[in-house]
Symmetry: C2
Subunit: 195 residues, 2 copies
DNA sequence: GTCTATATAATGATAGAC
DNA sequence: GTCTATCATTATATAGAC
């Protein structure tokens, strides 16, 4: 009794709020999985960053693997770019990929893919999702001859670009205002869009 | 080229032959590191596949990390393709990448890179090598304006292609005799070669 | 609902027998 | 030169106290 109406202010850290804890774990998982990949990420690190206890991860999500898929579900950053049509799509995509900020808190699907595709645990599921979701829908959007091959080529360019830029930190990809680079990237993508 | 002659028949498994053991470990390490990446590969698995004892890995190479760099050193599959000149380089590279067999015993630098670039232990060294060796030499070979940007774009296309084809196993990259795919890949690469 | 403490398994590395 | 046995560490996952 008298549990809910206590006159004292709430404790410094969140207590008795499963929804907020769940959300905090999910957000921390996104960041850590994106930064280190599935295998290298630890549940202790995720729990610490979420300000939650380690045991709650398994309580709410069952396992590290289930947490991973909960954290990366329904992410699609390409949709807004596709919506603007095929004219100039290459340039829009290239500008987007070249100007993405490295330290914003958002989850970046490209980064997650590149960092975890090698994992024997979650790699196959990531591959499956790439095939059935991203490449298939991109191929639909492209239309025309060899749509799936052209979609796969665009995806390869996009992922290779991000891998070298944000994970390997290759110089040529990280110079500020590198208009020449964007032009090259845009040209390659657009050529696959046009056929 | 056989082992030195011994008066008695050799034991069932290699004994008293440090050179052969060292070589067997090195070869097994190449295969396992290529298949699973640095973090996921285990020294026990490497030793077993080499038919050697686990303790010999550290005896001969010092550590798992030193074994990794010993296993991947001086590998460059691009040199023969570059030697034939810029005319038709895109098509030669595309054919080579699309037709590489997945199960031959050779070490594939592309595969190693993609599978281990995310590792916090060896990732930075892989990035450094990619920058200072492969991209730099490719840029030299290309010449002309923005050579480093064009070289980096070719490397991104090459790595993205292999990542989706051999690690993710994307359908569009693994159809036999997919001439259309090779044409698209070749066109993109050649455009960066020509400027 | 949250926590401490622990079970269980696997890792890289090493000491010392043969 | 090769092996067995074991170290110390770390990982995910869970049981049970509060």
């Amino acid at each position: 009794m008298t549990k809910k109406e206590t006159p004292k202010p709430p404790p410094p850290s969140r207590t008795r709020d499963s929804d907020a804890t769940r959300q905090a774990i999910l957000q921390a998982a996104q960041q850590v999985f994106m930064a280190k990949g599935f295998d290298a990420a630890g549940v202790r690190e995720i729990a610490t960053q979420a300000g939650a206890n380690v045991a709650l991860i398994n309580r709410y999500f069952g396992s590290k693997e289930q947490l991973f898929f909960a954290a990366i579900s329904d992410q699609d950053h390409l949709a807004p770019l596709l919506a603007e049509g095929k004219d100039g799509f290459g340039l829009r995509l290239a500008s987007y990929m070249a100007n993405k900020h490295l330290s914003d808190g958002d989850l970046d699907p490209t980064q997650v893919f590149v960092r975890s595709i090698g994992s024997v645990t979650v790699g196959p599921a990531l591959s499956e999702a790439t095939q059935t979701q991203h490449i298939a829908s991109l191929a639909d959007w492209l239309g025309g001859e060899n749509a799936e091959e052209r979609a796969a080529m665009i995806m390869a360019e996009l992922l290779g670009f991000d891998m070298l830029r944000r994970i390997a930190g290759i110089d040529a990809f990280n110079r500020p205002d590198n208009q020449a680079l964007i032009t090259y990237f845009a040209r390659a993508v657009q050529s696959h869009v046009d056929g």
